[in-house]
Symmetry: C2
Subunit: 332 residues, 2 copies
Amino acid sequence: MNQFINIAVVGLGQVGIYLLNEIKTKKKDIELKTGKKIKIVAISAKNINKKRKFKVNKKIFFKNPLKIFENIKVDILFEAIGLSDGISKKVVETALKNKIHVITPNKALISKHGDYLAKLAEDNNVNLEFEASVAGGIPILRTIKEGLVTNKISKVYGILNGTSNYILTDMRDSKDSFANVLKRAQKLGYAEPGNPKLDLNGFDAFAKVRILSALAFNTKISKHKCLMEGIEKVESKDIEIANQLNLRIKLLGISQIINGRLFETVHPCLVSKNSYIGNVTGVMNAVIIEGKPVGESILQGEGAGPGPTSSSLLSDLLSILRGNIKKTFWYF
Amino acid sequence: MNQFINIAVVGLGQVGIYLLNEIKTKKKDIELKTGKKIKIVAISAKNINKKRKFKVNKKIFFKNPLKIFENIKVDILFEAIGLSDGISKKVVETALKNKIHVITPNKALISKHGDYLAKLAEDNNVNLEFEASVAGGIPILRTIKEGLVTNKISKVYGILNGTSNYILTDMRDSKDSFANVLKRAQKLGYAEPGNPKLDLNGFDAFAKVRILSALAFNTKISKHKCLMEGIEKVESKDIEIANQLNLRIKLLGISQIINGRLFETVHPCLVSKNSYIGNVTGVMNAVIIEGKPVGESILQGEGAGPGPTSSSLLSDLLSILRGNIKKTFWYF
């Protein structure tokens, strides 16, 4: 219990700040549950003076996150910058090369560079963990990799984008247009105010599908093109007609093996009003796993937001603190 | 990859036999995912000659399971005998004292002697794992201990007894009496043919509630008396009246903290026809967790049967093979 495990948090947006507050509040609990002492030794963001819900300690602040590794010993890095390339990739890469464990909620990064980064982690004998990258607070990756580990999985699918599900639910309830509902969602913080495109065109769900496939089917992250369609073209009239037919429109991400081949799709689906998936509303995410011998398993929870995301980021932290070094992917 | 991890399976009923077949089929996969070689070195049951869906190797058969420890080196023991006391307790106790990891689906044993056995495991630096003891194939204990580990949980509840849920569902669908529906369930293998009492009087669900409480609230397993009522007194008339009121009768196990005090109850509840829990039918189990900051999480899956049970037993095996030595409970 004497030596500290040094932690760095790079990216001080909503998620980074929520995470820092959680670590501060739950420090004692984390230390009791792992037998390790932890310390935040570096934080980084573009702007030191931005107003944040956390008292930034200027002594440990780095404008350039890459400078962290040159100056202090870090054991575990949280990357909360976002985007698949640029500085976020560079930071993760550098950390892994320096034998630093990395925890990230960045689905764009993992779905694009996951194989490469996982290899880097393995070569350096550290963990690359990304529970928070799929379905927010639902521990879905852990469930596939550990809880259901010996099952033969044939299909994983579900509602993977909370923004789209919120908009579809609101369109049904309010009978309002896509454009108006989107505006409301942006005001409420359920859709990004600037550019919500990646949520609405299916890209975000597709990145998650690719991560799920790799873990469920022990394959490299697929690169081939598949059907990807978001909810941008769904009109109030579609919702109304579906309703008359006792159906609901849901944006589903689906990964399945058919005749030995992997199929990955994201598109709006018509599902029965009385089905389980038809009743998952608002920002909720739900993942359904079909496996043998376990049968059908369902996991549902809040798919986005800094709280659920932090829940998953911290589950990764505790796993690393307990010394559970694991391969990121298994493809043999 | 050279030395074998020696495994013993004690109790060759439905679960024990299914497990042995699974280990045989998935041996290569297990070894790839853990880097360890495994070997079944001992099996035990009362009767060597009973007809079983597995070719029993008489060379490794023990009529008295306690003799195993005197004769061969075992690293991991599966206990699949059942019951809270007698030989099952003796076997688990002896194994832990001999520094052997123990994996068991035995909720009666853990809910009665879990604290004592966990201490024994800790003192001997081995694992005591029992994922299969609650909600069959659903990795609910792992989810509480790992996936949602840093959340402040306030309530855990759900449908924890598949037999009761099957009977309540069939009574609603068939409008038949409790006695007739029970007979059908017994024929189909959803209720024990001999003595289904422990499923029907709420005891089985209550044992699971106690295990869930200990993990969700970091307390010792509670001993105090609480409301425990099963479905034995539910009549077709009750189901009919509930239906007229747009309600369903469900046997719920509930564990929650109210004003700092733990409340554990099992009893038939009236729930809305349109609620999530009202639509969990047949032998399905469902567990709902309310936590901060994750919000409400739901896990649903098959709660019983040798397949789902084996799925959870093997998840524990892989966790041990990966070297994840962990405390069983956390109470500080």
